[in-house]
Symmetry: C2
Subunit: 219 residues, 2 copies
Amino acid sequence: MSKGARTLLVEGLDAPGVLASVAGVFAHHDTNITGIQTLPAMAGRALLTIEVDADADVSPLVSDLSALPQIQRVSLEPSLLTIYGKRVIIIGGGAQVGQVAVGAISEADRHNIRGERISVDTIPLVGEEALADAVRAVARLPRAEILVLAGAIMGGAITAAVRDIQTQGIKVIALNMVGSVRDVADLVVTDPLQAGVMAVMAVARTARFDLTRQKGRVY
Amino acid sequence: MSKGARTLLVEGLDAPGVLASVAGVFAHHDTNITGIQTLPAMAGRALLTIEVDADADVSPLVSDLSALPQIQRVSLEPSLLTIYGKRVIIIGGGAQVGQVAVGAISEADRHNIRGERISVDTIPLVGEEALADAVRAVARLPRAEILVLAGAIMGGAITAAVRDIQTQGIKVIALNMVGSVRDVADLVVTDPLQAGVMAVMAVARTARFDLTRQKGRVY
């Protein structure tokens, strides 16, 4: 999703083949779909959001989509990136996740007031496999930019998952804890509030904080 | 996204027409796509996650998708619902959002330990229009079930947006604040920690808390 993306909200039948017809309209106009997302069907109706680049000519798309027999309604909406912005993800134990969240939310507030859009999204979890799955899937979360691991002990499969998502462009901050995630994290921070604040600073264009210059440091 | 959904992770070219080809495979097998999501393209490659119902026969889909010239890789992954579960969304001022989040994360921890999966996702924002847009777009967030409005004054366009998303099945808890959102919320809670706890209880199948029996009450 690029900054200037435009989003079409398409409401239609929840049935096989509908998406193929919709996607066919974009292919016919040689317009690349930069983001697409479906929402759970309600009463046999499916809701699709489709993002295209800001320079795409949307009016012929809207009229061709509206002409499809399976489509009831097409409208233009602001993109989720415009509304909710970049995502800071916090995963770990409830006690630590809560405190990292307080720091991150407070810092995001300060940047969002100055025109940024940063969300702080969390899940408290227990168990190496559940945590590793959740870490690995951060790369599949739209708009996720940085992960804070907020636990007391994390290693093994979780460390492997951290390496995976780092190759996909996700930055990782870890609390100062037992286990090997400390060794692979881009930054280790002891205080949970500070970890949350630094995570937001690392993704805010309204802050001067370059995580690559802190690589491997412990605070 | 249904509970037993299966997710295909499809990696291919980021170009016009690719989605139409992919969707065509599902249409050919008469398989309904229950959820689809793209991730930002990296180095000309696009990543698509496609969910189908648990009873769908995925092996012919995987082989037909792999045979498409624009597709490099197809794999089966757990769904985001399996990993991150239902979402509690908290929107408002930084101070209040942070405290509601602490309550919600702590309560989600207790339920997730017992086998639930509940995420707590937040954004601190200022301004009636920005807040109204963010509230309205909750209906477009996958897996979102309940919204907590955590501010000191909210009304006007925000109240209209609350009514909109309530008709789309999203429950709304408001802090005890100035303005008309109090009048339309499903529940009004004075203490922010308690509001977060109650929001999680309202969506957890591991809790005994029926929001419909509390409709319009103030705590």
